[in-house]
Amino acid sequence: MKRFLSMPPQITRLVLLTIAIICAYFTARYLLTPQSFGQYGHYRGAALQEIAGREPFWAGRKTCDTCHGEIVQKLAKAEHKGLSCETCHGPAKAHVDNPEVKLPKPGYGQCVRCHEASPSRPAWIHQVTPAKHYTGQVCTECHVPHQPNEVP
């Protein structure tokens, strides 16, 4: 202590100032670092829960299966087996929450989005040039979407 005080005055002053700044920095750091910071890594651990806490928008095929198991099973046997119900029927969350709410009927637009011929599409998917294939707008006249191999 004595030695410290016998340092030249300007140095003493600067050392004290430096210590004060460093103390202020660490105090600020202690106060301003969020609690969960560093829980898993260099980030707020609570962020994981926050991001996971959002409400899902699409209900998912599993949810449809709880009531419409019969249709889902039928679908699983045919070529459209990989399809999710909501791909064609649209978001079903409102319907899940309240079965009274009906979903809009899928139509021509949905069929053409996947089956319109394009040189960019892989060969495995059935493709048609709509203008040549059929002039109407109701694909279900000839095709059953849940069992594409069948003819009604």
Binding site: P8, P9, Q10, I11, R13, L14, L17, I21, Y25, A28, R29, L32, T33, P34, F37, H42
Partner: protein, 423 residues
Amino acid sequence: MNADLLTNAVDLIPQVQGYAYPNERTLHPLWSVLIVVYPYVTGLVAGAFIMASLVRVLNVKALEPIYRLALLTALAFMLCATLPLLFHLGHPERCYEIMMTPHFTSPMAMFGFVYAWYLMAVLLLELWFDYRRDFVDWSRTESGLRGLIYRAFTLGVTDLSEPALRLDARMGRIISVVGIPSAFLLHGYVGFIFGSIKANPWWGNVLMPIIFILSAVVSGMALCVFAYLFLCWTRRVTADMRCLDLMTSFLFYALVIDATIEGLDWLHRLYSAEEGIEVLRSLASGKLFYTLLLGQAMMGTLVPLLLLGSLQLARKWVSDLNRRRVYFGCSALILLGVLAMRWNVVIGGQLFSKSMRGFMSYKMEFAGHEGWWLSLALLALPFIILTVLIKYFLALDLPTIENVVPGAVRRPHSSQAAEGRAG
């Protein structure tokens, strides 16, 4: 023909030629003029400091008239260096997080500490030790607000005894020695912010920090020449030609090294034909033609190189007035050239898609967050601060040859340092 058709079709997307990732199709680059200003201002700090250090570390006596001016310039620009970054943030109110939870692998977070170190431990300390005697003197003679400010700056130390002043001089020298690598670190880090981005072939380059340091030194020296001549002109005093000639020859050599390394960078890129070289080549001959080839290479580098270089050889035959004119013009050109270089790096690096398949264009905006007015204001702010600093801290000793002689008595460091070495 078919190819043209498709290119036209893709061109329907505004401002994109060829293909760019959908997220890259923005109205203006993510980092716009503000981020051009940021490395420019930081570079001027580092360069001006190097200029000042020449006096202290290398003991170049002829440069004494600009020692304080260079340090004050560095300080004025340093105080503004982080402002463009701050204004650019999406959440400026969260900026404290950079200091509270710095991510050690991030060049930007480390810049915060390098900046703090440089401002507090180098620039302010060096200025304080240099000015301490004057603060004490002025606080005794001046009254009112000025006197109060000077008194606060003495930090309550009024000891002006012989050993105390000798200590000030010694400390100043030590800090200068530490300061040079710190100045390199400061601007090298700015270069590393860009150089570390491997996703971008224009930026991700080992030479980037070095190029940034060198161009910083060049621009800072040019700024010192510019500010000195400007100050002499406003105060209607004759500039010290010995000091000016020496400053500009340092500037010339720095420019030679800078131009060589930048040329080497381009040569290497072209020769090794790295990924994306086609994109860079078409940028240089197209969208960046004016700023890169004309602005940066011609007006900012070649012309000053030729003018300053010929003055190195033919100094004797050119009158003082004409030399001053050439120096003034060259320093202004270099300052603009380095600004163009920052533009080319920052904006140029965002004019092409990272898919290397297309180009975006830059739509200039005047008002607003990313606009020109804000950038111009931020570029003008350090000059305003510098004016205030000069008014308060350089008013009492004019940086001319006539004043250096009494100044040497007023300012202890030169005579004291000599004594210190003798003793």
